[in-house]
Amino acid sequence: MRTPPKDAPTFPYPLAETVLDNGLRVVAVPMEAPGLAAHYVVVRTGSRNEVEHGLTGFAHFFEHMMFRGTPRHSPEAYNDVLKRLGADGNAFTTDDWTCYHVTAAAAALDTVMDLEADRFMNLAYGVEAFQKEARAVLGEYNKNYSIPINALLEKLADTAYVAHTYKHTTMGFLRDIETMPQQYDYSLKFFERWYRPDNAALVVAGDVDPDAVFALARLRWEAWRPGAAALSTPVEPAQTDERSAHVPWATPTLPLLALAFHAPAFDAEDIGGRALDVLAQAEFAPTGPTYNELVLEKQWVDWLWAGVEDHRDPTLFLLVARVKEAERVGDVREALERALARAGAERLPPSRIAAVASRLRYGFLGGLQTPDQAAMAVANALQLTGGTGAIDASYRTLARVGPDDVARAAAIFRPSNRTVVTLTP
């Protein structure tokens, strides 16, 4: 196997950047993609911003409202333009950000930009459309509801956090979703506060010339007025005792077990954060000793996931196992805790760390084949840090992780920092 030099840049395409006068950062990613371009708008607002009582889930709901028209483009007219182009367009919301993406012919980039910029500046909808969309959101909650992992993660967030807005999922609490139709006025305020160029970024990836992208961006996006509100998310106090919760399930399903530990926010330079990534892979991913023991040898578990999802604020290291028999949940928990204790007491062989680094790196490169995938990787760095340097920086940091870093990072696995949630029929 050939291994790349440790300081070689990881992102395989050029990244060209400019910042418009209104503060909007624009990144162009030219790449081999015959005739196609992906247009990604990053809004650095997600359910993390939902600090007000009774309004959880609003960032996601608002994402839906962004498709409800402007004076120039009714929702039907907006869709008709995309339809004529044969574009693929959609949006999604997470804890930290909201993403609006359109992929179409590169030759249609100006049309796409015009359409997208219009709704970010001139969104306008009536109460009727607002209320119907609120019920479509309830429908989205309903479709997710029969899936046990969603119920488990909802309970886990609610239990592991006491103050920070990560306490609720991006969908929000059901009680708040049910009252969404009454929040029309608040939705206008939400748009004013967060849909601003100084809280956003634009990525265009594909068969494009960066200078042409910048010129179009100036033409279409420069009129967007800055003025994002300041956000102060509640600080989560240090956890002092183990927390636990249980979710009863009405139909016969396989038990789920989640262990969560408070972990640091994303920082591309923080070796501790990357060390946790290495640990999660080395121990719990396929080929890791715990995976081998629980999934392949003892066959107590049919699905095992571990890791830290990158977040802007301090987050959770999460371990989730689906257990085949309810009587084994205790045994599985013991095995997972033994593995976590081992991570602090023993040292991973450097060869294992090298295999993990190779896996993460080739996995990342293999997932950058299309304009969508490349734009998404850049958009994610922008939402986390406001810039694009974090992509290569985080892989440089990863390459420096050694056995002692992993053992030090394992200090978060103390019982007083633990939340345990189970779901059983």
Binding site: M1, R2, P12, A33, L36, F67, P75, E76, N79, D80, K83, R84, L85, G86, A87, D88, N90, A104, A105, E128, Q131, K132, A134, R135, A136, L138, G139, E140, N142, K143, Y145, S146, I147, P148, P181, A250, T251, P252, T253, T287, V295, L296, E297, Q299, D302, K324, A355, S358, R359, L360, R361, Y362, G363, L365, G366, Q369, T370, P371, D372, P425
Partner: protein
């Protein structure tokens, strides 16, 4: 065997897809689920002197995997790897295909997982999947086509390791094989793949069975009862066309207009979600459709000789279920009676000509579409659309709609909670009115139309309406086999 090559000079990744023309439709009676179990165990049962764990260890630093996808009629072993690792990777693929070990511990693990996929997955925590598989069972009755690929609880439980070895020997033969390779590879590599696949046993290919379908009489309702908060609904009837037929392409266009998957183009989506907020989405299909991961694009390599027209209504509040079904069927009846307008036809054609190009952005997906083309004796779907759509006329489309779509003969599958199910069935079977009330503001013209929808005739009957329990579905001796 045949080989499909999609060369791409300088591409960093190489994709391989080895397709065998066999799948769940070939499951022996009493061993329902055997094809899926064989496919799973092929890639997860050890091979060529290596345990599954050792294969995983070897694949791990390459960030590559050897995947398997088993459908009704074809099974595909597939993977993508960086060209830095191609030789080492292919050596593992070769072992899996030519020298599978079918280790007993892995056999037991995968058999249990497959039972759980039905008992704890489909029947307990995937209401939308359950409604779709119920509809599929209704469309195909007791035919192997009418079961999930995972089979039945009884069939999988009865399967032995010897059954798997026998199935592999009879079905995964060189005569049923089709190799696909995309990327920057040498002629020598291609020859090596061809020679390896050519060394599989010959096994005379049997003529493919034509799957049985049943046409509904009027509107036939099956309610699958299980605890749930909102009700998932699937509606459909068999159609006699596939990508092999000329009529498929005008029908494909009509369907895009009526219910394009996960877009706001469709008639259903706008009428049901945008105007009424009934649910998260409403779509329709003229062939089996599996969404590829988190994209909105079709997953290749699920070709079928028997297809259906289907409507997917995402979960609705129980009080709205009857109304939602009525509205979807009423919209369908408008399509069948009135056809498309010239303007809608032109818009939809332009959309599909561009949109379909987005379906094949990676070499792996391009390969998948090319293999499907071979199955149907056509070019890949995207190329067929590019050739045919410019030549289609509005009257072709409207004629195809009239020939193949029906709004008065439909199977309806509803996953509903046991408390609400009996009353729903009674009202549905007696064609009672289903007025809707909203807790949100509604346009007056929508309310006017609602009054018409509420009494739209569905032609349901008591004799053709019933409730079954989710726990009996796909058990192997329950109502599913007599549907």
């Amino acid at each position: 065997m045949r080989t499909i090559l999609l060369p791409s000079k300088g591409a960093p990744l190489v994709s391989i897809r080895l397709q065998f023309e066999t799948g769940a439709a070939d499951d022996p009676a009493g061993r329902e689920g055997l094809a899926a179990l064989t496919g799973g165990l092929l890639v997860e049962g050890g091979a060529g002197g290596m345990s599954f764990r050792e294969i995983l260890d070897a694949l791990y630093p390459m960030a590559a995997g050897i995947g398997v996808q088993v459908d009704r009629e074809v099974s595909v072993i597939y993977g993508t790897v960086h060209r830095d690792h191609l030789d080492a990777y292919y050596d593992l693929v070769r072992r899996v295909v030519l020298e599978p070990r079918f280790d007993l511990a892995d056999f037991e693990r995968l058999r249990e997982d497959q039972v759980n996929a039905i008992t704890a997955g489909l029947r307990a925590s995937d209401d939308e999947g359950l409604a779709k598989e119920t509809l599929n069972a209704l469309l195909h009755g007791g035919d192997p086509y009418g079961r999930p690929v995972e089979g039945t609880v009884r069939g999988i439980t009865a399967a032995t390791r010897e059954d798997v070895i026998g199935f592999r020997g009879r079905r995964l033969t060189r005569d049923r094989a089709l190799a696909g390779i995309a990327g920057d590879v040498t002629d020598r590599f291609v020859k090596r793949v061809e020679s390896d696949i050519g060394s599989l046993p010959a096994g005379s290919p049997e003529p493919p069975r034509v799957p049985r379908s049943r046409r509904p009489e009027g509107v036939e309702l099956t309610v699958v009862a299980k605890p749930c908060r909102a009700w998932a609904i699937s509606i459909g009837h068999p159609i006699a066309v596939t990508r092999a037929d000329d009529d498929f392409y005008p029908l494909f266009l009509a369907n895009s207009y009526f219910g394009e998957h996960r877009t706001f183009n469709g008639v259903l989506m706008n009428a049901m979600r945008s105007k009424r907020g009934l649910n998260y989405g409403d779509y329709s299909y003229v062939e089996n459709f599996v969404q590829d991961g988190g994209s909105t694009f079709p997953l290749p390599n699920t070709p079928r000789r028997a297809q259906a027209f289907t409507i997917w209504i995402r979960p609705v509040a129980p009080a709205h279920a009857h109304f939602a079904i009525r509205q979807a069927v009423r919209e369908l009846s408008h399509l069948v009676e009135d056809g498309m307008t010239a303007e809608a036809f032109e818009e939809t054609r332009a959309f599909l000509l561009h949109y379909s190009r987005l379906w094949a952005q990676t070499p792996a997906r391009r390969l998948g579409f090319a293999l499907d083309g071979v199955f149907y004796g056509r070019k890949g779907l995207i190329d067929e659309l590019a050739d045919r759509l410019p030549r289609l006329t509005l009257s072709d489309v409207n004629a195809a709609i009239r020939r193949h779509l029906r709004a008065d003969a439909l199977f309806v599958a509803v996953v509903a909670d046991p408390e609400g199910a009996p009353d729903f069935l009674e009202r549905f079977a007696t064609n009672a009115a289903s007025p809707i009330t909203y807790d949100t503001e509604t346009q007056p013209e929508v309310l006017d139309e609602d009054r018409e929808i509420a009494v739209f005739p569905l032609h349901a009957s008591r004799e053709r309406s019933r409730i079954v329990s989710a726990a009996s579905m796909f058990e192997g001796d329950g109502p599913d086999t007599s549907l």
